[in-house]
Amino acid sequence: MTISKRRVGAIFRKELHEYRRNGNIIYAMLVLPLVFLIQPVVQVFTLSASASSGLRHEHSLLYLLAIPALVPAALAAYSLVGERLQGTLEPVLSTPVRREELMIGKALAAFVPAVVVSYFVFGLFVAIVELFAQPGIAPALVQGPELIAQVVFTPLLAIWSIWVGMAVSARTRDPRTAAQLSILVSLPTVAITSLLALGVIPAILPVAAGFGAGVLVLDRLGLRMATAIFDRERLVTSAK
């Protein structure tokens, strides 16, 4: 099967144009990550310098992995059901575009801003810690392995979250239901990252490797799952 880069690019550019001109999407993309930033920032400011030794056994940065797990889910969940409601999906489906091309174009359009926002928020947090935290807190909190984990897991989690959102979007009739369902389905990954952050699951290399391999497999299966669920007839007619 050959994928047309031009058609994927057309969908991708169109989606980005729409995001750029839709204030609600921009606010939604920024507000949720900032909410996730509040708790760690407050925690950092309340920590005294003597707390740094205890922090070396915590992994608070991993808490921010919830952002790539949740932000793209909301975007992807709207992608098909939203277009269907606007009546713009039928003209697109009438063109030679293949379902894989449509899905990849829309997935890329959710992936790029979600990853950019996630890295930006993470960078912002690290900058706040480095600039304003008590002496000793920054080196204890910002550790090399966690930085690497953040960089590696952000795209992996975002991709899974996108496929889930798009699969839900292809099967629901209402954007709000789609957003709620896709966030609900993304919660298990958020739970795992939260348990790692809280130290309930030990944040050690074998665990990270296993978790990474698992998400990678899910990412690969995700496109197949989403395209299998995608049904041109169902999307056009809203038939059950």
Partner: protein, 334 residues
């Protein structure tokens, strides 16, 4: 509206009732679509010739849009077969067919936050057209929107959105163009512009499959029409359908009622029957108006009547349509 589409000239339209399979842009045999227990349309068969404007009429829920969606490979038929733009309608051929046809749905379905140009640019890439900027410019000029290219679609009137959707459908220079209610919601001037554009497209060889509720529009534009009400009720050129369904009628008006109309009308050539319609007005059912009208005039003058007018009563496509639809309603009720 400027008509400056630069597309290849093809064969002229056919107006005959029969389309040879080799000439068919669209060939449909026993096509049926069911959604569960509900029948959208059933056992539909027809051919559409290359370069023809084919009208597809029917009441709401008759299955017109479902037929268009099936032929545009958006939904799969339950049974039957079809060849669309020379390609058999199968799931594997969906992409090939969609390359050769374009569908303009009833609602324009434009991205309202994007400009006209951005909308068309997206679709030019989806169709992978060569030289997209040039095609967009031509399509916009064809629908008279060249000066609105940078405007957001959300700022356009309903009519202009419809024109933008039409420009979008023209981008790929389709062999077969499905127009679903193209003048719905347009004012008479805008509708006339769309009609002119449709005629121009036909002149350039594009086959047009037009679904509409505007029967005058179908009568004016279409070489042939089909009336669908879940099943195909009739098909043919509009004038032939009228002749097939309704006898020719002469309406005769005289200043004063005739004292003995029976002897005056009964013996006339080509007059099959007559009846008094109102005071001094008579309806004559005739087999050949060209023979009956002069003979009637002579007979009335000979009878001493003051003839006010003799005219042929014209049945429209609307009469044909209503005859079928009303009959179907009566059958459903009984």
């Amino acid at each position: 509206m400027a008509l400056e589409l630069e597309m290849s000239l093809a064969k002229p339209a056919t107006a005959s009732n029969e389309v040879r399979p080799a000439d068919a842009a669209l060939s449909v045999h026993g096509l049926t679509k069911r959604f569960g227990e509900r029948v959208a349309y059933e056992d539909v068969s027809f051919d559409v010739g290359c370069g023809e404007i084919f009208g597809f009429l029917g009441p709401n829920g008759a299955g017109k849009t479902s037929t268009v969606r099936t032929l545009g490979t958006l939904i799969a038929p339950t049974s039957g077969s079809a060849t669309v733009a020379g390609v058999p309608l199968t799931p594997e051929n969906g992409e090939t067919i969609r390359h050769r046809v374009a569908i303009m749905p009833e609602t324009p379905g434009l991205y309202l936050r994007l400009s006209v140009e951005e909308n068309l640019s997206c679709f030019a890439d989806l169709y992978e057209v060569d030289d997209p900027a040039d095609r967009i410019e031509h399509a916009l000029r064809a629908v008279g929107l060249a000066d609105r290219a940078k405007d957001a679609c959300g700022s356009l009137s309903k009519g202009l959105r419809q024109c933008t959707a039409l420009a979008r459908a023209l981008l790929s220079d389709p062999e077969l163009l499905f127009l679903d209610e193209p003048t719905s919601g347009l004012d008479p001037a805008a509708a006339r512009d769309v009609h002119d554009l449709i005629r121009e497209l036909r002149r350039r060889g594009t086959t047009i499959f037009l679904t509409t509720h505007r029967l005058a529009e179908a009568e004016q534009l279409c070489d042939r029409v089909a009336i669908l009400n879940r099943t195909l009720r009739t098909i043919g050129p509009p004038e032939e359908l009228r002749d097939r369904m309704f006898a020719h009628t002469l309406v005769v008006r005289v200043r004063r009622p005739l004292s003995s109309p029976g002897p005056t009308f009964s013996s006339l050539p080509s007059v099959d029957a007559w009846q008094e319609d109102a005071c001094g007005s008579y309806l004559l059912t005739v087999s050949d108006p060209d023979v009956a009208a002069p003979a009637t005039t002579r007979a009335l003058v000979a009878a001493g009547a003051d003839v006010m007018s003799i005219s042929e009563s014209q049945h429209s496509l609307e009469d044909v349509y209503l005859e079928f639809v009303d009959t179907d309603k009566e059958v459903e009720r009984s």
